[in-house]
């Protein structure tokens, strides 16, 4: 369950080691390579560690996201468990060499079951001084720093705010520093292809990747295949990238840039066939699967927005499944078209991030009023307003719960991991289609761009979604309801004799005619609320990990905090702490047993990447004095942050 753990005591030891070794930097290995002496215990631990956390960092134009993804992909293929955290600026190309332009990609790969990208990197690949400056403080003491020595010239140092070259003062004391002239070696390596200087220079990320492949003893073939596919139409560029990758690998090998290659064994994952999947991709595949098992055509209306656009990209590639994608003129048009498609019998979807939800709110109300099945994906990002477009946050929960005029309840779901997005996309579709109402699927930037190994499901194991249409003119009434779910009937245009009109004006019960009647309005408001509440009969109960019968402390979360909570609770429990965990995938309605679960614990802790939105809902509904652990930094929780809070409360 847990990755490699480091107790607080050990961390202190390492701190001491850092200061002691400050004077021990020595030149060795080769003219291009410097290695600091490393505390013995760190070195031993690193030969066959259970997991390694690497962060690739460079300019936003240096290709760090690609490099990180390729290393991740490779790790997945060799059988490691993986979890990733891409972290990039909103600017596509901030001024080169500056601190705001630094783009990073953190990857945790392990022989154990891990659930987070790791608290702190142990290896930092820094392509320029700015990348070093931004990321060095996160590196664990004694960690490895791989530097592109060519980038540490006067101007770059200045832009990063270094007065003295960090390689020449005590900045890097206590770290294992590997300096390589990545830029120059790359140019030499790709010379035979004859490509221009600019293209040649762009291959340096592959050289860096080659270095890391050697250090971690990785096969290059899958990555070479990927490169050739990616640059299929530009064979000379593909060749240059391959040459750079191989050159990096061979250089590391020849120079033995670390004394011993480091091996992370395969993870003991459950049997099955796996692939690496990212949250947005899993969301898109989930909807395609939902369309298939429900027999509905899929319509996705969306306006480009970070970090949701990849869902549009992915779905637009799969028209062979009867998928219609519509890049709308704005967020409102995107949901409008989605509701229109649903009126016509399609599984109507729209996807966006927080600012887009604000724009869609009126139309979400229309979907509530017309009781049509649609799914709205909100890939949450830092807010308010434009906020932090590329960073993660969980601060849209109350917006999707309440951010509409009138009494306007809808169903809200949240996946817990990138792969879980697949399952919850199907679940959102199932609830929308069988209960006839809009469902919000709340993911976030961390899930969307994060990756994990995904056991490929068998189609025959997917849930079945049974969709019914009205056909009989003798009995049809637009707002006649199923007694169990209160779902109204879906009558599609094209069905003879069922011609009817719906819209945003209040409906008369049963007939659906426009009605301004006072009593009818209250009845309809209550019916719409009850309809959402009744979904609780159709979803699984909340499970408690730990002491199901109750205990001292329950840590309850929702969405992407799952991994960090699970790992933190696991660590404390192994030390004998009386703490349990529960994770909510259903936020409206809550699972029927939630109140009961909460009442069994003396204390309830709610870690959230907001100022306490779930806590607010739990307090309001269950009168429980829940305690918050709130982090709003655009970054996911670290395991130790939650661990510390748990220790404090026990």
């Amino acid at each position: 369950m847990a990755g490699r753990e480091r107790s607080p005591e050990n961390e202190e030891d390492s701190e001491n080691a850092k200061t002691e070794s400050a004077s021990n930097i020595e030149e060795s290995m080769a003219p291009n390579t410097q290695v600091a002496s490393v505390p013995k215990e760190v070195e031993d631990r690193n030969r066959e560690p259970e997991n390694v956390i690497i962060r690739f960092a460079g300019d936003s134009g240096d290709g760090m996201q690609v490099t990180g993804s390729m290393f991740t992909h490779n790790s997945a293929l060799v059988g490691n468990d993986i979890s990733t955290l891409p972290d990039f600026p909103a600017e596509i190309r901030a001024p080169a060499g500056t601190l705001p332009g630094v783009s990073g990609f953190q990857l945790n790969f392990s022989s154990l079951d891990i659930k987070t990208p790791g608290d702190a990197p142990e290896v930092l690949v820094a392509m320029n001084p700015a990348a070093l400056k931004v990321n060095l403080s996160d590196l664990v003491p004694g960690g490895m720093v791989v530097l592109n020595a060519d980038a540490f010239g006067g101007n770059n140092l200045k832009k990063a705010g270094y007065v003295v070259d960090p390689r020449e003062d005590n900045t890097l004391a206590g770290y294992q520093v590997i300096q390589v002239q990545i830029s120059n070696l790359t140019l030499q390596a790709v010379k035979p292809t004859g490509i221009g200087q600019k293209d040649a220079s762009r291959c340096k990320n592959m050289f860096a990747l080659g270095l890391m492949f050697w250090i971690y003893d990785r096969p290059m073939e899958p990555t070479i295949r990927t490169i050739r596919q990616k640059f299929g139409k530009k064979p000379e560029i593909a060749e240059a990238n391959v040459l750079a990758l191989q050159a990096g690998y061979n250089y590391a090998d020849t120079m033995e840039i670390v004394p011993n290659q480091i091996r992370v064994s395969k993870a003991q994952l459950p049997k099955g066939t796996y692939k690496m999947i990212m949250g947005n991709e899993a969301t898109a595949l989930g909807f395609i699967a939902a369309a298939k098992v429900s027999g509905r055509p899929l319509f996705y209306g969306s306006y480009p927005i970070t970090p949701a656009s990849d869902i549009l990209h992915e779905l637009s590639r799969h028209k062979e499944f009867g998928v219609y994608t519509f890049q709308a003129e704005d967020e409102i048009a995107a949901i409008g078209a989605c509701i229109g498609a649903s009126f016509g019998g399609a599984l109507g979807l729209t996807g966006t991030s927080g600012p887009g939800i604000a724009l869609k709110s009126e139309a979400m109300g229309l979907a509530v009023m017309t009781e049509l099945p649609i799914v709205i994906v909100d890939v949450q990002r830092g807010g308010p307003s434009t906020g932090l477009p590329t960073k993660t946050e969980q601060a849209d929960l109350l917006q999707v719960m309440f951010g509409r005029n009138g009494e306007c309840p809808l169903c809200v779901l949240a996946p817990a991991t990138p792969g879980d997005c697949f399952r919850m996309a199907i679940e959102a579709s199932r609830i929308a289609l069988t209960h006839m109402l809009p469902v919000v699927l709340l993911t976030d930037g961390y899930l969307a761009n994060g990756a994990e190994p995904w056991p490929i499901p068998r189609v025959e194991d997917l849930p079945k979604i049974s969709v019914k249409f009205a056909t009989d003119p003798a009995t049809y009434q637009p707002y006649r309801r199923d007694p169990e779910t209160l779902a109204r009937q879906w009558a599609l245009p094209g069905t003879p004799g069922l011609e009817h009109r719906i819209g945003g004006l209040e409906k008369e019960d049963v007939t659906g005619n426009v009605s301004y009647d006072a009593e009818n309005h209250e009845r309809m408001v209550r019916l719409r609320a009850e309809k959402v509440a009744k979904i609780a009969n159709d979803i699984p109960p909340l499970e408690v990990v730990g002491d199901a019968e109750g205990g001292e402390l329950l840590v309850i979360g929702w969405g992407s905090t799952y991994g960090a909570i699970d790992q933190a609770v696991g660590r404390v429990r192994r030390r004998g702490g009386k703490v349990s965990a529960a994770h909510l995938r259903y936020l409206n309605p809550f699972p029927a047993n939630l109140g009961d679960v909460l009442s069994r614990f003396e204390k309830v802790l709610v870690p959230e990447m907001n100022l306490g939105q779930l806590r607010w809902l739990l307090r309001a509904k269950y009168l429980v004095d829940a305690i918050g652990l709130n982090k709003v930094q655009g970054q996911p929780f670290k395991i130790k942050e939650i661990e510390k809070k748990i220790e404090e409360l026990l």
């Binding site: 099955g272 692939k275 298939k292 003129e329 229109g340 056909t471 094209g494 011609e499």
Partner: protein, 365 residues
């Protein structure tokens, strides 16, 4: 109540895009106006121009359905918010009364996935040109096969009398007691700028012309935009009287006919000719013949002539009514459908298991 399950003929299999292929297609009955009249009480103010538009629509629908072999259940009216947008409630077809300004978006989603449906959009000057201006432009430029009717009464009626984006400059209303200081927008100029493939204008009180125009819009493949001058007898009575009143109509309006010279007037003796790039009104005779006049060409790919005509305004010029532009281009819904169909005809298309397992995989024994 009997419901169709997944296995019933109503079910559209996931590998078939729309429902056209599987829905029962009964023999086409000959419809009457009554078949398009719903059981709802019409609630517009007595004397409203909307009554006439509704009546003409109900009148032409039997012939539209017969000519195009469309059953009534395949007709859908979508609207936004405003007086005009109550229209769908009174048509005995499928209907969707949506939210303010957004009708083209609902219609776009519906038509994209159900191309066999005939989808009408009913909007007004506030709904279509103010809050929903963006959607109108994009529906027009996409050339999606929608019939968009914009009822232009140059006022906000349902909110009780504020000026609209088509209200004339200086107009005094409840929200502009000293007169507006805004240049009005000309709906046809917007449609032409967006290169609508069909753009026309008609008048609520000219019932025959309105019927003809609606029928022609219905026959067009692609987006059809029709501006209908519509009198609001409560908040903007007589807005179009200066040219629409029967006593002056022949002299103050010009009926556009494809391939015919631009002649108007109760004596058919006035015409429009070009002087350089500027149009001017001339009187036939005294050396000026029909050969000197501009000839209407609704089929011109170049929208310049239509644009020039849409610019003609009182008091110098007659107001042109009729079809300004009518050209043929592939429609959005056809192109989208054909991408979907082409993709679905690929070998192994729709194999979900193959999709889920695509890419690099590894197996844990």
């Amino acid at each position: 109540m009997p419901l169709a399950s997944n296995d019933s003929p109503l079910r559209a299999p996931a590998d078939a895009g729309g429902l056209a292929a599987v829905l029962p297609q009964p023999p086409q009955p000959a419809y009457t106006k009554q078949d398009f009249t719903s059981d709802q009480i019409v609630r517009w103010c007595p004397g409203c121009g909307d009554y006439s538009i509704l009546a003409q629509m109900q009148k032409i629908m039997p012939s539209v359905c017969a000519k195009q072999n469309i059953p009534r259940e395949n007709v859908v009216f979508v609207s936004g918010i405003g007086c005009s947008s109550r229209f769908p409630y009174y048509m005995n077809t499928y209907g969707f009364h949506s939210i303010h300004g957004r009708a083209p978006t609902f219609a776009t989603g519906l038509k994209s996935t159900r191309p066999e449906l005939m989808v009408w959009v009913v909007t007004g000057d506030g709904d279509g040109l103010s809050i929903g201006g963006n959607h109108l432009i994009h529906a027009l430029r996409r050339n999606i096969d929608l019939k968009i009717l914009l009822f232009n009464n140059r006022i906000y009626g349902l909110t009780k009398g504020q000026y609209s984006p088509t209200s004339e400059m200086g107009k005094k209303t409840k929200s502009s007691p000293m007169g507006t200081v805004e240049q009005p927008i000309n709906p046809l100029l917007i449609a032409l700028a967006a290169e609508a493939t069909f753009a026309a204008r008609s008048l609520d009180t000219d019932t025959k012309h309105l019927q003809d125009t609606l029928e022609r819009a219905a026959a067009h493949r692609g987006v059809a935009f029709v501006e209908i001058f519509q009198n609001c007898n409560i908040f903007n009575d007589g807005a179009f009287e200066s040219f629409a009143d029967i006593s002056v109509r022949k002299d103050k309006t010009l009926i556009l006919e494809h391939g015919k010279p631009l002649i108007f007037g109760k004596d058919r003796n006035k015409g429009i000719r070009l002087k350089g790039l500027k149009p001017e009104v001339v009187t036939l005779g005294q050396g000026i013949t029909e050969a000197d006049l501009l000839v209407h060409d609704e089929k011109s790919e170049d929208p310049t002539l239509a644009y020039l005509l849409a610019h003609l305004s009182e008091p110098e010029f007659p107001i042109p009514l009729g079809v300004y532009r009518n050209v043929s281009r592939p429609t959005y819904d056809q192109l989208l459908q054909s991408q979907v169909e082409t993709s679905k005809s690929k070998p192994n298309a729709g194999n979900l298991q193959a999709l889920l397992a695509s890419g690099d995989t590894w197996t844990v024994e």
